[in-house]
Amino acid sequence: GQQVMQIPQYQHVQEGEDFTTYCNSSTTLSNIQWYKQRPGGHPVFLIQLVKSGEVKKQKRLTFQFGEAKKNSSLHITATQTTDVGTYFCAGRVDSSYKLIFGSGTRLLVRP
């Protein structure tokens, strides 16, 4: 079936270091979304990418969608303790309403 793989599973960084999480889909995606889930919280929408090769920035966060629309990445520059949480990518295939979530990357930041 359709799968979205996400790596790494965990990342433990020193505050101020950069962080990147990667998603790869077995099939071409119509769009990809990113969500953040704080410890004990629920997923919160961050951004959606639709176009091949698209790059979007939100302050220290940079999101990329691959040229083939099968992979995506989230890069955080100079992490802060407020960045702690699990980051999920979620891909949509064709016109389906169903989102296929990656397994998430849990980010821990040492102050």
């Binding site: 769009n31 629920h42 397994s103």
Partner: protein, 113 residues
């Protein structure tokens, strides 16, 4: 405005009992999703409702699981004869028609003893 709400926030039940979990989506949102999240894991799709269309039940793990959505608004997820492996956080999300962003509720943490 009000977000997605879910009740109860926590539910502890004994193996074999039935449970009902409730979701109140954002007013006006026609799409409603249920997901299951086991400890430290990702989100597992369960079921999707869109307006008056037939729901997509492809993610329900067994016939012990069912869900309904009354009046295109509130949804109830029912788990019959609960098993210990049903223990997880059950998340509900809604989205407006034509929009892709899903807004999640706080979830119901289900513990089956």
């Amino acid at each position: 405005g009000a977000g997605v709400s879910q009740s109860p926030s926590n539910k502890v039940t004994e193996k074999g009992k039935d449970v009902e979990l409730r979701c109140d989506p954002i007013s006006g949102h026609t799409a409603l999703y249920w997901y299951r999240q086991s400890l430290g894991q990702g989100l597992e799709f369960l079921i999707y409702f869109q307006g008056n269309s037939a729901p997509d039940k492809s993610g329900l793990p067994s016939d012990r699981f069912s869900a309904e959505r009354t009046g295109g608004s509130v949804s109830t997820l029912t788990i019959q004869r609960t098993q210990q492996e049903d223990s997880a956080v059950y998340l509900c999300a809604s989205s407006s028609i034509g929009a892709d962003t899903q807004y999640f509720g706080p979830g119901t943490r289900l513990t089956v003893l």
